[in-house]
């Protein structure tokens, strides 16, 4: 994990005074195995900033889908791509930022993430196309911005508000 640096995700609420800022930053190597290692590392980090064990799976799933898409699509042609992740626990949930310097989203927007039809013959069942559906199901307040040659995703997970 990198040294912490100033952190204020666009769209995230200003940190309330008196509330301890719990944040985490991580560089993830943009390969399938890098993603695997990154997600495993984040499990411990998330526990450390107050995310309950029962809340970890949905955070891990959303991050996995976002990371996988960046590896497969945004940074597909890049050898040593890096994904920068920031996570901050706030009273209204866990705010997450994900940055990469790969290709922009198609049409400059993240996919709609419609659920592929599953009441079809076995041979026609979809083997993919669930990624952005899952992201949109589980993430809140998601914004995407293209800043220069970087992609920036900011969103909130409704976790970490326990006690």
């Amino acid at each position: 994990m990198r040294a912490e640096r100033g952190f204020a995700p666009p769209g995230a609420p200003a940190t309330l005074s008196g509330v301890s800022v719990k944040e985490l930053r991580l560089d993830v190597s943009a390969t399938p195995y890098g993603v695997q290692i990154g997600l495993t590392t984040l499990r411990d980090g998330l526990r450390g900033i107050g995310i309950d064990d029962s809340e970890l799976p949905s955070v891990e799933l959303v991050l996995a889908e976002i990371f996988n898409n960046i590896v497969e699509h945004a940074l597909a042609e890049t050898e040593d791509g890096v994904i920068e992740v920031g996570l901050q626990c706030t009273p209204n949930g866990l705010w997450i930022t994900v940055e990469d310097d790969g290709n922009p989203m198609p049409d400059g927007k993240p996919p709609l993430g419609l659920l592929p039809a599953v009441d079809v013959p076995v041979c026609d069942l979809p083997e993919g196309g669930f990624g952005w559906f899952l992201i949109r199901e589980l993430a809140h307040d998601l914004t995407y911005t293209r800043e220069g040659d970087k992609n920036l995703l900011v969103f909130r997970m409704a976790v970490g508000r326990g006690e």
Binding site: P32, Q36, L61, E65, N68, L125, F130, L134
Partner: protein
């Protein structure tokens, strides 16, 4: 990606011995599943009890294993942990697979129970 299997009278139970099925191992999982269903009997149960993380690549790999069965062969699932079950539920894939609570109930279950 390691899969192990046990053969019973008319069912093969395949167990994933790792704790995740994700983008890094989805292809290998597919290949090994293909081999184990090819050589398996008419009924195959995939025991996911050890898996505590499955992303959409992993889900796609399980669907792909289903699409690779022979005529008359069925692939069923057992022992989904809550986080894995959630992915099946959110994507409605729980309506496609017959899912047993445990591998044991799957083995006891009548093969034509659906």
């Amino acid at each position: 990606m390691k899969l192990s299997h046990r053969d019973f009278a008319d069912v093969r139970v395949i167990s994933v011995t790792e704790n995740r099925i994700d983008a890094a191992c989805a292809i290998q999982f597919k290949d090994e599943m293909r081999h184990l269903t090819d050589t398996g009997p008419g009924r195959v149960v995939l025991d996911l009890g050890s898996v505590d993380f499955l992303d959409s690549s992993g889900l796609g790999a399980v669907v792909s294993a289903l699409k690779a069965v022979r005529n008359g062969q069925r692939l069923e699932l057992a022992s989904l942990n809550p986080s894995v079950e959630r992915v099946f539920h959110l994507t409605r894939m729980d309506s496609i697979f017959r899912i047993y609570d445990t591998a044991e109930t799957a083995i006891e279950g009548k093969s034509d129970a659906r």
